[in-house]
Each structure stands twice: as structure tokens, then as C-alpha cells.
Amino acid sequence: MASTIRVRATASGETTEVQALIQHPMDSGFVKDAKGEIIPPHFIRELTFEYDGKSVFVADWGAAVSKDPYVKFSFKGGKKGEDLKISWVDNQGQSDTTTAKIQ
């Protein structure tokens, strides 16, 4: 199965812009399903971006982040062809990680 993480990292000049879209329901715990039962909270708590072994961005998320969450940031450094490691953990202990090449 493809990774749940889609990343676009593009280096321009000495900064690298990173966009990520993650496949995750991000259930807030406030919504009921068709049978009227509450859907338990199920959302990504922490999303980490690492470049050259160093963390360049860490997201602490709550239940109010949209489904299939998206985030965009940029950091100094990062060269074409280098690796950017992305991993997340959610409140049910699930996680995923992927490595993307900087374009």
C-alpha cells in the first residue's frame, strides 16, 4: 500500500519549501456515525520532519486539524537529491514514516 504521506520538497536558493498531505481521518471525537454512536477520537498527535538527522519542523496537532491534514513550511539549507524524513504518530499508537527526496 502506498505511504500515507505525500510530500513535495523543493529547494530554491538556500531555502527548501516543504508541503505535506497525509491520509488520516483525524476524527475529533465529537462526530456521531450513521448509527448514532460517537466516533472515538483518532488524530495525529505529532508529525516530525528531519533533514540531515536534525529536526527541522515538529507539529503538535489536536483534534481540530482537518481530515487528510496538510501543512506547509520552509527551512534554510536542504539541497536537491537529499533526503527529508517524515514520520507521524497518532493517539491510537499508529504511525507511519517515509523518506522523500528534495527536488
Binding site: A2, Q19, L21
Partner: protein
């Protein structure tokens, strides 16, 4: 309405002046004759003219962006979403599903012209053997059944993913819906047009009430899309559904919103409605899959 149809009649070069005068007299009463002669070409021209006059600043292809061409604030939110659109996952799933062979070794590519790539703009078409309109969603499920596979739900993820992928391969190609020289095709077109303009549900709305009379206006948070180009972006990822939606899903939910009981997906009325709506948007580019509020 009477003024507009009079102008329409006058601009029809073919009619002689006397005939124009005669129909002018008729326009006071409900124009029974004009509506009975089914003339899709004239309809499409009048349909597109109505919207380009109502929104002079928009180029023809802008209409395929629905509400986002109607409101600057919405347009900015759309641009942000399009940077990394939420339908990305459905598109990938559709590509995978489309290539996955059936148990008998065949795959969707064997059911469609050109392997199913870049053909979405020709759907729906009128099948002269069956004497009915065949939509893309119907053709996909028929392909599955012909190869011994269970059909997909018309309103759920797999069908949305498949149609998303096929639409994606046709992006930019103009709608090219044909009406063959067959009275049944003309009747299907007319039936779709009638459905589009017929008021239904306790709210007593027709599709035209919202998408012809008041595109650009708001119903609470939503801005109404113009009917021209209404299906070009299908299937759509709607924030409201936080999920993908096929044409079948959109038709059935629109019905229930105005408190009309929806027909079953791919009912003849819906197939004819899609035929009419696609035909009058001929020439406008396919932009699916789309993101919508």
C-alpha cells in the same frame, strides 16, 4: 422571460421576418410551439449565451470552476486547496484500481476505447443498441459485471476514485457529447432537460431555481455554481462530505436537500439529466477531479 425569447427568435437568421413576427405574437402565451420542437444545438447556444451575458467578465472555461468563479474569497480558498488538493489520494487509488486486473485477467482498459485514457469528455453517450444514455459510472460497473466482478456502489469511494482517474486523463479536453440522429436520443435529451427545469420536493425547487436563476448567490455558507460547466469538474472532493462524490451522489443529495425522495442512482432520469447537462456544456474543458466546498 418573454422579452428574452423574443430577442432569441429575432436572432435566428434562418427564420424569415414574417415568421419572427408570428412567433413574437405567440410569446405572450406560454410558448408551446417553441418548446415542442427539440433543437439541442439552439438550446446549447442559448444556454451558453445566457451565462456569458449574466457573467460578462468570465471566460467560457472559467465556468467549470463553479462557485470559485463566482466569489473572490472562495477563489482564494480554492487556490490554497489546489496547491495540494484533497482528492490526491482518491486519484492514486483510482489509478491503481483502473490497472488492477479482474479475476479473469482482463482489466478496465479492455472495456474502453483507447484503454480508457483521455475519453471522459465523450461521456455520457447515447447507446443506439440499448436505446438509452450510458454514463461513465454505468459503463464502469457494466465492465465489472461483464468480467464477473461485483459492481461498485455508485456513491462511494471506488467509483469516485475510478471516475477521478479517468477524468484526470481527460483534463483540458472539451466536452464532446453527441446526439445521434435517432428520435430516442432526442427524447432522452428532452427528458433530461425537462428534469432539470422541473420543480420537485417540498421546497418546490428545480435544478434551475438554484443553478440558473441564482448562481453566485449564497445559500448560507455555500455560493451557488452556474449550471454551465456544472459537471466538468466531476467527481469532486467536497469539504462538506470530507470525501469524494460522484455525479450520482451529487444528484441524489441535491434531491434530498430539497426534501424530494431521490431516485436510485443511474435511474433513467438521472442518466438523461447528465446527458442534457453535459451536452449544453459542450466545448468547455474537463477539469475533474475537482475540490469543492
Amino acid at each position: 422571460m418573454n422579452v428574452r425569447s423574443a430577442i432569441h427568435v429575432a436572432s435566428a437568421a434562418v427564420f424569415s421576418a414574417t415568421l419572427a413576427l408570428a412567433t413574437l405574437a405567440l410569446t405572450a402565451t406560454p410558448p408551446a410551439t417553441a418548446a415542442d420542437t427539440i433543437d439541442p444545438v439552439a438550446d446549447a447556444k442559448a444556454f451558453q449565451k445566457y451565462f456569458t451575458t449574466k457573467f460578462p467578465k468570465l471566460k467560457l472555461e472559467d465556468f467549470v470552476n463553479g462557485p470559485y468563479s463566482m466569489d473572490e474569497g472562495m477563489h482564494r480558498q480554492w487556490e490554497e486547496k489546489e496547491q495540494f488538493p484533497p482528492y490526491e489520494f482518491s486519484l492514486d487509488m483510482g489509478k491503481e484500481l483502473f490497472a488492477k486486473p479482474f479475476k479473469n485477467g482482463k482489466s478496465f482498459a479492455d472495456c474502453f476505447a483507447n484503454g480508457g485514457i483521455g475519453i471522459r469528455q465523450n461521456y455520457p453517450y447515447f447507446d443506439e443498441k440499448e436505446g438509452k444514455v450510458v454514463t461513465l459510472e454505468l459503463a464502469l460497473n457494466r465492465c465489472r459485471e461483464a468480467n464477473g466482478e461485483a459492481p461498485f456502489s455508485y456513491v462511494k469511494d471506488e467509483m469516485a476514485a475510478l471516475t477521478a482517474y479517468m477524468a484526470f486523463t481527460s483534463r483540458g479536453k472539451p466536452f464532446d457529447i453527441k446526439i445521434p440522429n435517432d428520435p430516442r436520443a432526442l427524447a432522452a435529451y428532452q427528458n433530461g432537460k425537462q428534469y432539470f427545469y422541473t420543480r420537485r420536493g417540498q421546497l418546490n425547487f428545480s435544478c434551475a431555481t438554484c443553478h440558473v436563476q441564482s448562481p453566485g448567490e449564497r445559500i448560507r455558507a455555500e455560493v451557488l455554481a452556474p449550471a454551465l460547466g456544472l459537471l466538468n469538474a466531476m467527481p469532486i472532493y467536497r469539504s462538506e462530505w470530507s470525501g469524494m462524490g460522484t455525479i450520482s451522489r451529487r444528484f441524489t443529495t441535491c434531491n434530498s436537500q430539497i426534501r424530494g425522495v431521490p431516485l436510485e442512482p443511474q435511474a433513467d432520469e438521472y442518466r438523461d439529466l447528465e446527458y442534457y447537462l453535459s451536452y449544453v456544456s459542450n466545448g468547455l474543458p474537463i477539469s475533474g477531479p475537482g475540490a469543492r466546498p
